[in-house]
Amino acid sequence: MNGQKRTFHTVGKSLQKVDGLSLVTGKPMFVNDIDLPGTLHVKILRSPHAHAQILAIDSSKAEALPGVILVLTHENTPTTRYTTAGQGYPEPSPYDSRIFDTKVRFIGDRVAAVAAETEDIALEALKLIEVQYEELPAVLSLDEALSSDAPVIHDEEDSPGIYDAAQNIVADVDIDAGDVTRGFAESEIVVETTCETQYAQHTPIEPHVVLSYLDVDGRLVLRTSTQVPFHVRRIVAYALHIPVHRIHVIKPRIGGGFGTKQEVLLEDLAGFVTLRTGRPALIELTRQEEFISSRTRHPMRVRVKLGAKKDGTLHAIEMEGLSNTGAYGSHGLTVLSNTGSKTLPLYNKAPNVHFFGKAVYTNLPVAGAYRGYGATQGYFPLETAMDELAERLNLDPIELRRRNHIRSGETSPIFEKLGEGREGVAFTIKSCELPRCIEIGAERIDWAKKRGKRIREGSWVHGIGMSIHMQGSGIPQIDMGAATIKMNEDGSFNLLIGATDLGTGSDTILGQIAAEVLGVPLEKVIVTSSDTDITPFDVGAYASSTTYVSGTAVERAAEKVREQIIEVAAAMLETEPEGLMVADERVTAHDGRSVTLTEVCQRAMYMTDQFQIAATASCVPQESPPPFMASFAEVAVDTETGFIKIPKYVVAIDCGTAINPKMAQGQMEGSIANGIGYALTEEMLLSSKGRVRNPTLFDYKILGSLDMPPLEVILVDSYEPTGPMGAKSVAEIGINAPIPTIANAIYDAVGIRLKKTPFTPERILAALHEQRT
């Protein structure tokens, strides 16, 4: 435990969400919960072909349909290429997308759009648009994309940022530390494993939705379900050729994101309709459209090779990632980079490390950001290989990990070598309670008693497995979050933050941080977030950044405001500012004399030396302290049917100070649940032509309440000295764990190594059959 731990009043308490009351009472607070008169309904015509040239579009019949206001195609919209990836500028993703293109690159790609008086009319009009396609040979798998004579998907000449368009390679990464060839030669034991992950989707219960309109000054307002309001403003301005200052983005409450709303998928189109017609425009994806046309996790094939000494010290690690980014290169480079950068530093005892790989285009659904962001795909082979290595060394898998994982005071060359689309940033780990996480998790799952026992119940066999993980807290020297705090005359404060609460509770925890510094209860902090006209800039909710980056900005702004309060109070108390304490809504001097915050603000506002007590502060993180986690599962495998049950799942996490423990647990519970779905049931099935075959929540199976195993989440006491109030991130890390943890538990139970997700009964049964023959 770090000695710097502090005592808190508001932080560290499981206070209710600041937006909780309105949410439980069903208040109209989501994008489409307001009705604007004259709203046009926009529907999108989508490509029926995986790869085709559009030879001609005749929209005259659609335009003639009564109630149709506007039909949009590549012929009457701007043709600037941009990226849909909502990342910091300049984005490390290729500018390979257009509002509408002359070529379609996957089934579901945009062809045209209709804005009409009603949804029914818009849908009717879509059927009247006549499109002549010239079908092109399509690239329908990772392997096809990698072959040298594959059809070229992005043969246009005006898409900058593609690594090698002629070979369908979006991005290529190759970094090393030490000499991996020599490293393997010097190793006494080498294991190698390759794992494949599937197409999977985020499925927030609220699909993508945007409502655009003009304000009284004729500025474009985009009320949108997004994780990145400021990136939406910039990207839409660029795509539509209008100045940033003519756009106002508002993010109200949003119904989950998980990465899929780190994309600008609809705002350009709605905005264009509103600018052309002067009328509000609504685009709301159906669930089917969400599956077919929004974003997915990057399916990957990742190979890991580990070299070790006989004493169990890792000596060389090689990881090769092949990533399918689908028809557009959104997040292609950075997700692939994170496959290495968020996994390899965990085992920093190996002096020789090599990470390389490619992200390739296919004519399949478009991948993008998804909670875990590449690390999920990397941990599957890494933590599988660690188990295989432990077996070869005849070591307990826990012991092998203990001997090799990174610790407080240590670093990894990977931090510096591999960043997000460019070099990273060197730093030293300052908080790592992974040893405690492992210890506590092993105890709660009863590792010593249950591991390797293969306890049978009829045809069911029990096993337990584990894996360990790290992630990051924001993107160092790239991300930026800012906060403004101003004081009101009743001793309350407005906290204005660009940070984006997508259901995670960030409005609440950022409010708690401000309240802590300002010595007031949370209800005295009025939180306003994610409005590009009102709040200062923030990159948005991604890369596990909000608590650490935006939280630090809030802490700094609050400290500046506290200094101003102390200055005023010192004058009122006729004493020096030094030693004045701000707590319990008062400023108190050594001798016990005090003034209330209300009195301080009344004086500053109305009486003497008047000024607005207010401050703005920013945070650009200089490092990205990883949260750490140990994950354990007990599984039972039915050797007759291949079905799996999970009688118990335990995770112990070091996220630094949990600003709001109940919400931190909630983040873990949700990410583990999502990860279990990814491990066992979730898979977008594609036809031989590249069509999504199961675009419904009936056929694409996410976990329901009956499927959720008993889950215990332990927040391990920790303090990150560089974080706000000692906090690190907690949002993403959990989702990485279930695949390797369950895979290792299945091996413990029945001796089969599954290397392709999801672990369906069919796959388990096939592996059991293969094992017997």
Binding site: G20, T25, G26, P204, G255, G256, G503, G505, L706
Partner: protein
């Protein structure tokens, strides 16, 4: 065609489109707590109580709801006081993004009305028609237990 229905104790006489779903009707009448997550009865975000039982309003034609009594999440508060289910969801941290919350509350109300002391398995069964992507259901199940306690206490 015109139908009459009572929503949260308010009687409405509304002109409807014959193909209109109850979900669309309720939303355009201002009951925005009724959420659309799939339109095919898979997610439960549009759940309302229809004559005392939870239904997915996206699967019910508005015409079929003629003469019925409907409760939505907006109707759970009584005289400005939160319903015990709402209190429990708030206190147990069962709400993250909140998009599934109204439907979950309606499913909980149906469950606890018909089974005031459900077992954990019965709670899971009761919520099984409602998908949540944020919470892993852990705190929602706790909230249903807490709501049951509150409601039983209130009833005794």
């Amino acid at each position: 065609m015109k139908i009459t229905l009572t929503v949260n104790e308010i009687r409405h006489e509304i002109e409807i489109d014959p193909g209109e779903t109850l979900l669309d009707l309720l939303r355009r009448t201002g009951y925005k707590s009724v959420k659309k997550g799939c339109g095919s009865g898979d997610c439960g975000a549009c759940a309302v109580l229809l004559d005392g039982r939870a239904v997915n309003s996206c699967l019910v034609f508005a015409a079929k709801a003629d003469g019925s009594t409907i409760i939505t999440a907006e109707g759970l508060e009584k005289d400005g006081d939160l319903h015990p289910i709402q209190e429990a969801f708030l206190e147990e941290g069962a709400v993250q993004c909140g998009y599934c919350t109204p439907g979950m509350e309606i499913a909980t109300l149906d469950l606890l009305t018909h089974n005031p002391n459900p077992s954990e398995e019965e709670i899971k069964e009761g919520l099984s028609g409602n998908l949540c992507r944020c919470t892993g259901y852990v705190k929602q199940i706790e909230a249903v237990k807490a709501a049951a306690k509150k409601m039983n206490k209130g009833a005794s």
